[in-house]
Subunit: 419 residues, 4 copies
């Protein structure tokens, strides 16, 4: 394998590295695992493999490669996710019914596109470079989804099969949390312009913050258990109205993947079932649960601007990545002193609705559908999880999910007013 | 009737004036109209009459009036809207099935509570005064809902009956819209502390705004028609993703209440069916439609802080009210020069999600359920509509509805970046 | 009031008697009660009053009365139930949203149609006579629905208001049930041709029956309670698959209108709440419950041909009617010896699916939609309930409802194989 | 392969033949095809393979084989279809989410059970013999479902892949249909007692039939097209009420799998897309469509007793089977003179609701859940389709599906009253 530095400089190597990483994630899968869609919001691994390829075919090969012959005509519709500018997408909730193309054909599709991409990658054209970079970051987002969507499939199977056997299962250690204070003042948030960013991170702009404090680590399972044992799921006063509706409608009483095993709580992990690890950060909680927990704890969730300003200060610690290092998936970065677990442990729910930054302009053309059209009814998350690919996350990165969503590795960092 | 000034000073007179206004709104109704619930989000007039009364009984009479005898025991549950602190509310979508209590009994309930309130109103107790004031503003909010919910009932009836015959039906006049520019800088938004406000308007705080411009009047029907005729409802690129889903799911092709009448568009108004008035502000559009229109027009919706800073500057123009003056309901304030139609014409969709102001604290106890628990998945509206009661709206007032909601008198003011 | 014999001979008097009976049933109602639709399958009393009138207007006045001026044009659509031959009916689940026409206007509509019918009633025309007769039997069916639908409204209201105060509340007496045996052989079932019948009762035809036995009275509440206490609602082996699904989906654990009152079972009756009467026939059970009870009891439900052959033999006992006699509604006919409670106590679920008799021909034209198009997915019931109007039921009468329906006064008579 | 006669005599050979036939049907599949569930009513091939095996494990090996070691513990729940007597089945609509066990493991499961069955098959025990026979007929039913369910998956894929390439695609020939008359009288229907039958075919009993006539072949595509072109799908008077609701709700305008291809109609077949074959029997129509077609044609559907009495007379023609002969799947038996296409062409909708025969007793114990509990809301079909396995169908066989179901090879034979 190439050294990371080489990869970054060589567009062909970089393209290959990201594309291979996607396939590496699928290596532990049986063919049977590739086609399953366990819920409307999740997609089969096969679909992710094909869709990320479709992206390069649609936005690079078709417009820029002369005489490009598409691998198969019907794929334009089948593997379009939501780009209305590329015709009517195949209905999302039916992705799990597509037994064809087969896994083998999808890998052939990937190889076909990868081969056709090679000459394009070598060109110096700025638009092409930018689109390739977008395509690779897009693929990395789907790398994370491959893992989280697969966890829904395997974790929902009564047999609870493991995704991999070689994942680190060491118990986490913890220490008391401390709130670190920050004074009022202007902060600048948004992408600086060096390196890739999504359009939703722009433009960089000033935000006025009041004095605030942020916890120096994530909330742990044992802390969350105290909330549960204190009747958290039975106390409407702790919940947003929509959250309370979700609690009752879906009979929530613990994070997703937790289940009672005799007297104790166990959870399904990608390494298989295990007792809940007390000092690991709690994950797979919805925004509503994060918000209720914070209220119960006499705190609140951080604003995204608060989070970003803190992360910018401590940001050098962005980890090399979890998957690349040979397999840690569930156990997370150690909790040292200082502002810990900012990156690569759990996506941290903020209290900020996902809306455009002032002066925001989406990308031109169909690619403008990438981010902007989702700026309603979602909540911003920051920091990246243990399933986020190496090199993909940064302090300005804005992830977003709906309030009830729990299938991502989502966690809680507390904040409060200060001063 | 008392003069406005007297009313404001005399708590008993003020209480009576607001309570009478509610009943005045129902005077044109047949008994048959009182019980209908035309959709889950709307409530029957009878329920509004009783629920506003329940508010005084629950939060004033039961805690503060010794030996108070409730009018009827079952009402505590029947007319609780959503306060989990007062037991399990009767299911909202079934309010239209409650034929009992009868309208006559509900009016008797009102009289019973009003009589019992009188001694409390005379007391100087601060907590009581504050709660009474909250109850009256609460009742005013339901005055508006009585009108908007009734419009759903009458407008959805194929017979299209009028609510009142005596409403002004004069056509509106208009003039070209101009964008007024404002420089970057700090603005202060939120309640100042003089006079009543809801908890969600607090605390007053500084917000940093970039240079922006705001249109000096609302978008008119004829302008909106141009968007429709340009294929606005058939162009996914103009829409938020959730908005486009709504367009297709609910087959939207015009504002609510519009219908084709031969070749032309007519609309149902509270004064009965009529051709669409070209120069009246467009109303009954969802947030998604407002947002799509703005994008089509090369503009955007204002931030709530932008809106409030503008309104604060022009705020003296808050109208005496529409209903009080003898009946104008649909035709709205004349469009003079300057920043017109800020108050009392249409609730103006902003681009701001409804979230807590920094440092926000809900009211203590069960009354804390009034606003805070709805701070998710909704959008802020400002300004008040032709159905908003006199004296109820102000520059700092934050209304909120869901993105797809169209049954309020909701309209569009354009904004854009400047400088 | 006319004597029954006179009424039968005089078409004008008969018409008036039936029409007045409908209005008499509504006399205890508040205006508030007239408009409520408590579930999709039920209709508001006002709608029943108007729809039965619409029937005469549509099928008699418009085709046969020259220069008839309809009362109001929109009613043709509003009050059409399901006749596709008369244009698109107003959506059934939205009948409760029609606050207009008002109750007063609906009574005026009735008066208008009644006046216009008078000359037609005097004519000797056979087609007119037949249609009038059909219209009156149709109206009688809706008389029963007025009562059963209203019971859903009042019984679902937490205040549990009584429909009438003057109903007999005497407890029922009972005696042990006996199975009466009948030998194998041909029976003839279907209308004989003397007197009115619906098309679904024709043609009369032979059916071969094996030896069977039928219980000489209905199953009582106390007997049904034994089934409940024996875990009937928790034993899947007793249930049809669709029935078991309904038990779990709707959390059935007792007949409709039963509720636990401390340790004991009470029920809502039209005379108000009361402890369950042990010896009264159990009512408000679905076909699935009737079938499960029968299986539990080592018996089965009768075939409709079995029932009719038995009823034909004992049929002289058809009661004069329950409502006419001044008010008995819930307590039912006394259980003497012999084959008791065949008519006017509860609609008895049979084991027969509702399908056409061999050689069945629907009425010509739009009136052919009356019965035939419902011959799928429903079950035949026989005998008539305490809410069935006087003179409306007969041995050959085929009522039909869906397996899960419980809001009619439906009960259980056991049968079994013999010989 | 053994000769058919040998197979019938030798229980081990017969078991092996049926089990192998199931696997032969899956031979054309990619691993990818095995796991897909295209709709709630259909199941993945993998599930069928496992469930039929589960049947032998649950009802033979566990009760009769000492020290039997189940292949894997969780399978008891995973592959239980609906037997409440064997614990809570895994939810049917989620069968497509079970990526594990893999296809390979399921085949190992089959081998494990087949090996363990061998000693049991050799025993002379009557109960065992009867259960094995039931298990094999059960497996044959699932052989048909494997094909029909797979057709939903492949036919719903925009790529429309073929199931097999080697199927006969010769166009059908036809001849004018004639109605054959039968006199009134008793007929006997139900199983005679020689050879296997399901409990729902018992007891044999007399039924009195009036004179009737039955068409001597099935309705063809070109005949059905005439109904379509005459506005059949737009004429409510032709439809049962529930059928008309289905037409509008699901926008039916042709049989399932038909689609417009330019000006003409094509259909998806298991051999791939093709123009509709004019003289082939129409298939994939619901009961509602069959019933509407018959009404349009001035005829009706046959009673199941009519059908069985006719089939008993012509029954020698039961075909050797379609799959065994090397592949015909869509083209069907030739239409000679006489009563053609009774067996093995299309399941023929009757007008009979699926209810118990008089005197019916389900099998004792959990196996009693096989048939009886579905005797509500379904319609009887007779005759078997081109996907029915060889030797599985007979004149007394009662199949049953719901009125709206279209994914089986269901067709139409007309009948009418005579005499």
């Amino acid at each position: 394998m190439l050294e990371a530095a080489q990869v970054a400089d060589d567009p062909i190597a970089r393209y290959a590295a990201v594309r291979q990483q996607t396939e590496m994630l699928c290596r532990p899968l049986a063919v049977d695992d590739y086609g399953v869609q366990p819920m409307d919001d999740a997609s089969p691994p096969k679909w992710h493999l094909a869709h990320t390829t479709w992206f390069f075919e649609t936005f690079l090969l078709k417009p820029f490669r002369e005489r490009y012959r598409p691998f198969a005509e019907g794929f334009e519709t089948l593997f379009n996710s939501y780009y209305n500018g590329v015709g009517q997408p195949f209905p999302r909730p039916r992705r799990g019914t597509l037994s064809r193309p087969t896994v083998e054909e999808v890998y052939a599709y990937r190889a076909h596109v990868d081969a056709a991409m090679r000459p394009l990658l070598a060109r110096g054209d700025d638009e092409i470079r930018a689109r390739v970079e977008l395509g690779l970051h897009h693929e990395q987002q789907h790398q994370e989804l491959i893992v989280t969507d697969l966890k829904v499939t395997l974790g929902g199977n009564p047999l609870r099969p493991a995704y991999r056997d070689d994942l680190d299962r060491t118990a986490c250690e913890s220490r008391p949390a401390t709130f670190v204070e920050f004074p009022e003042g202007f902060v600048e948030i948004g992408a600086i312009g060096a390196g890739f960013c999504f359009d939703n991170e722009t433009p960089r702009h000033r935000v006025w913050l009041r004095p605030f404090a942020v916890a120096d680590r994530l909330v742990t399972n044992v802390e969350y258990l105290a909330f549960m044992e204190d009747g958290g799921y039975r106390t409407p006063a702790l919940w947003l109205s929509d959250g309370w509706d979700a609690v009752r409608r879906d009979a929530w009483e613990a994070p997703l993947y937790w289940y009672r095993d005799g007297g104790a709580w166990s959870e399904y992990r990608l390494s298989g079932p295990a007792p809940v690890d007390p000092h690991a950060p709690v994950t797979h909680v919805s925004f509503y649960e994060a918000d209720a927990y914070a209220r119960w704890a006499g705190a609140r969730l951080p604003l995204e601007a608060e989070w970003e300003s803190v992360a910018a200060r401590y940001g050098e610690e962005v980890p090399a990545g979890n998957f690349a290092d040979g397999g840690r998936l569930h156990p997370r970065t150690p909790v040292g002193s200082g502002m810990a677990q900012l990156f690569g442990d759990a996506w941290e729910w903020t209290s900020s609705a996902y809306v455009a930054y002032p002066g925001y302009r989406p990308l031109p053309g169909t690619l403008g559908e990438y981010n902007g059209k989702f700026m309603a009814n979602q909540v911003v998350l920051r920091g990246g999880s243990c399933a986020t690919p190496p090199g993909h996350v940064r302090a300005t990165y804005r992830n977003f999910f709906h309030g009830p969503d729990r299938w991502q590795f989502t966690g809680i960092r507390l904040a409060r007013d200060a001063g």
